[in-house]
Amino acid sequence: MSLWEYANPKKFMQLSAGVLPWVGGLTAVCLIVGLVWGFFLTPDDFRQGSTVKIIFLHVPSAMMAINAWVMMLVASLIWLIRRHHVSALAAKAAAPVGLTFTAIALVTGALWGQPMWGTWWAWDPRLTAFLILALFYLGYIALWQAVEDPDTAADLTAVLCMVGSVFAVLSRYAVKFWNQGLHQDSTILKVGEKDPIAPAFYVPLVVCIAGFVLLFVLLVLMRTRTEIRARRLSALLARERLA
């Protein structure tokens, strides 16, 4: 019994079919509780008014935009090293989800920035790095779609994902060098400070983050299952054509 057993598509389909309803239910609970609590049951901020509440969408999606790429990197490495097809398909399935999270983070940030900074967009390091991350996602997805043979596509995108990770990190620090920031630093992870965020905001935010993590897992599982089914279907069709 090891983790790698679930690299078998059949095992993976069985396990994911059993897990999916639970993940779905938990996602719904976390998101509904977190967002309703965050939007309606927290006080308005002293200076930012009710715009502060966009944090409950902005922060979780921004975190997941980066985490999705990390997950793709891990899945690509597993594919390159151990040649498990489920892993390659999971990386493929995660990319559009990650791109969507990136877009949500950018759009909610713009909506918040307009009243607070007085501008929709500023060439701030964080914003710029996110825009570049979106471009990396686009290139990755485009490469998957452009290559016809699925194994070749999986190999090439895995290599691109590895090189892209290095350059995405490089870009992150390069844009920091290039322009001083307007965006505040991350507050959640500030070490040593007592209550960097008021608990009234902190708890629903954590619930929202949990909800977004679960949502990511849910969407990736569903999309991976679809990819596996599509792969089975094309295999069946190919067999029929031979017969």
């Binding site: 490469l143 070749t152 870009s171 844009v175 290039w178």
Partner: protein
């Protein structure tokens, strides 16, 4: 390896090789930008470092798909892959040849275009220095992108989509060197970072590109 380098250079210089195309494109960018933004010397001096770097980068992008595509089509890439030179070496030599026919001429021509864009006096030295340090990275990153897309028909547009985000750090540090140089400020930090990116790309990307070519030749 030297034979391969000479062959690539000869192919590039002879008719239809596309040598000079990048240079002409670079010249056009330097002519079109003042037409677009207006001829005020102060404005041009301000944007000249960025325009020159973006122009060099796009000119470099123009000829990337030639690095492997023609050899892939006529089968010589298969011969190169089975030759005694490791494929990583082939990639490095081809990237070097690409740099000799695009990056190096761009570097040499850039000061002339700097005059057109009213680049401030102290910037010229740093323009040449930054392009000399940065364009090898553009060629080798581009070779990696070309290796990824070599099996795709009409992959030119996809190649730009893949390569341009990878060019971001090089562009930022390169343009920063020229900007600081033109303003008479200290340039050593961005110049060292730029050289670091080039050195890292030269050391690692031939392996990634060779892996991609092996996949594409399968």
């Amino acid at each position: 390896m030297r034979a391969l380098l000479l062959r690539d250079l000869r192919l590039a210089f002879r008719a239809g090789g596309g040598f000079g195309l990048g240079l002409a494109f670079f010249l056009l960018v330097a002519v079109l930008v003042p037409l677009g933004v207006g001829p005020e010397p102060a404005t041009l001096a301000k944007i000249a470092p960025g325009i020159l770097w973006v122009g060099a980068l796009l000119a470099c992008l123009l000829s990337l798909d030639r690095i492997f595509a023609l050899d892939f089509e006529d089968g010589s890439l298969d011969l190169l892959a089975t030759s005694p030179i490791p494929l990583e070496g082939v990639v490095a030599v081809k990237a070097f040849a690409h740099w000799l026919v695009t990056g190096l001429p761009l570097t040499l021509v850039a000061p002339v275009l700097g005059v057109l864009l009213n680049l401030p006096g102290p910037g010229y030295l740093w323009l040449v220095a930054s392009l000399a340090a940065g364009t090898p990275a553009l060629s080798v990153i581009g070779a990696f992108g070309a290796a990824l897309t070599v099996g795709i028909k009409r992959g030119g547009l996809l190649l730009s989509l893949l390569v341009l985000p990878l060019y971001v750090p090089t562009l930022i540090f390169g343009a920063e060197v020229v900007k600081r140089g033109a303003a008479g400020a200290e340039v050593s930090v961005p110049l060292l970072l730029l050289a670091g990116i080039t050195a890292g790309a030269l050391a690692l990307l031939p392996f990634a590109a060779a892996a991609a070519i092996r996949v594409n030749l399968r």
